[in-house]
Symmetry: C2
Subunit: 240 residues, 2 copies
């Protein structure tokens, strides 16, 4: 019943905070697969073996629960996808690592239902409110990271200066989302191969420095390897 995040964190938390984190872990898992509306308080309580009211007291409203879930997903995304890809030196190599990291992430190595924020944004794009705003803001954050990496690669003289960072970021993001979309719908990991090839070919076309910075065109590494699989413990139960 304890969870990893809590163990890592400093001890001596008020008891409720632990439960809360534990709840959110399950919540993120459910929501990534069945959406933030499929994330029902009753269902969450059942899965946590708690009473609805007891669980509910931690958040006060459904919307607060959704916001907290989004926030928890963001933390995990940063820790599992963004930060590891930002360790090396700036340049085209880091840019490519960001892409690879995201593609791995989307294969279900982090969340049960692929990219959490893709699912959430598709679900809330026509539902104005704080949740939608937060999700959009987080996606903007990610875009910013991508664009910065692009500009850094340009500044390092490794990437053609003529291409606009926003344009390239859009393309990379679209190809990645496309892979996530196809994989979720068809369950065919081939989509990731196609996306990888497309991004790589685009980057290679823009690379000004020697292309050894980029890997060969074929599959570059085992896609299921670094999976820490943070949130995969809960029972897999699809909507009836």
């Amino acid at each position: 019943m304890t969870n990893q995040l809590a163990i890592i964190a400093k001890k001596r938390q008020p008891r409720g905070a632990l439960t809360r984190q534990s709840i959110l872990q399950t919540a993120v898992d459910i929501a990534s697969a069945d959406g933030l509306e499929g994330l029902t308080i009753g269902r969450l309580a059942t899965e946590m073996q708690m009473s609805k009211s007891g669980l509910f007291a931690h958040f006060g409203s459904k919307e607060e629960l959704q916001l907290a879930t989004v926030e928890a997903a963001r933390e995990i995304f940063i820790e599992e996808v963004a930060r590891p890809a930002l360790t090396g030196a700036k340049g085209i190599k880091r840019l490519w690592r960001l892409c690879e990291s995201w593609l791995d992430y989307a294969q279900g190595n982090v969340f049960r239902g692929g990219c959490f924020f893709f699912a959430a944004s598709a679900e809330f794009d026509s539902r104005p409110g704080p949740v939608r705003d937060r999700v959009a803001a987080i996606m903007t954050e990610w875009f910013t990271v991508l664009e910065r990496a692009i500009r850094e690669a340009q500044a390092a003289g490794q990437l053609d200066q003529s291409v606009r960072a926003a344009q390239l970021a859009f393309e990379i993001n679209a190809l990645e989302l496309g892979a996530n979309w196809a994989f979720q719908l068809y369950g065919d990991k081939q989509a990731f191969v196609l996306a990888r090839a497309a991004v790589l070919q685009r980057l290679r076309g823009l690379a000004t420095a020697d292309t050894r910075l980029l890997p060969k065109t074929g599959r570059t590494r085992c896609p299921v390897k670094r999976a820490t699989n943070l949130v995969r413990k809960t029972m897999r139960r699809k909507t009836k």
Copy 2:
């Protein structure tokens, strides 16, 4: 209370069929914006000014209603997006027309909430059943159309033979979906400009024949023009 589809169709239909079509028209509109679950029988009945039970009798179950709605959306998509783009001669020009047609379609000129099938597939990708299967099959249909257009352009000697049709189709589709996604989330039509530029640049890189077949890089035509706006009559009401 009559609808266009019905007027076009042969007269002397049993009266119920007319109502059914009229219902589906509203259903498609609601579902494209708020999803196939947001498409509630009660809400639909209210919007149609009918009783729940009277409306319900036309379909027998929620799932049948959803399936019928998906089918209706497919008809509209074919009529409004696919067929108009397939009129001219085969080749790279037709391929580009397909892309343009789709981008126009996604700007909300056909459905209230952008691409109906993008929304539907994102909603049902983790919900096994007939609805999901049908949506996936329809998306496959569209992929097939795209791939065929690519192969025809290659056969006509206007497109580099080396690129695999499936690869290019994936890329085009991803860029288009990416634009649809960004537009729905941020409401910024700039996404379509970026997608258009990306597809155009990719095609131009692959074009073997003279590039006059493809338009200039900039915006090529007024994006809101041909809109017949089939399904836009119903009151615009967002989820509370």
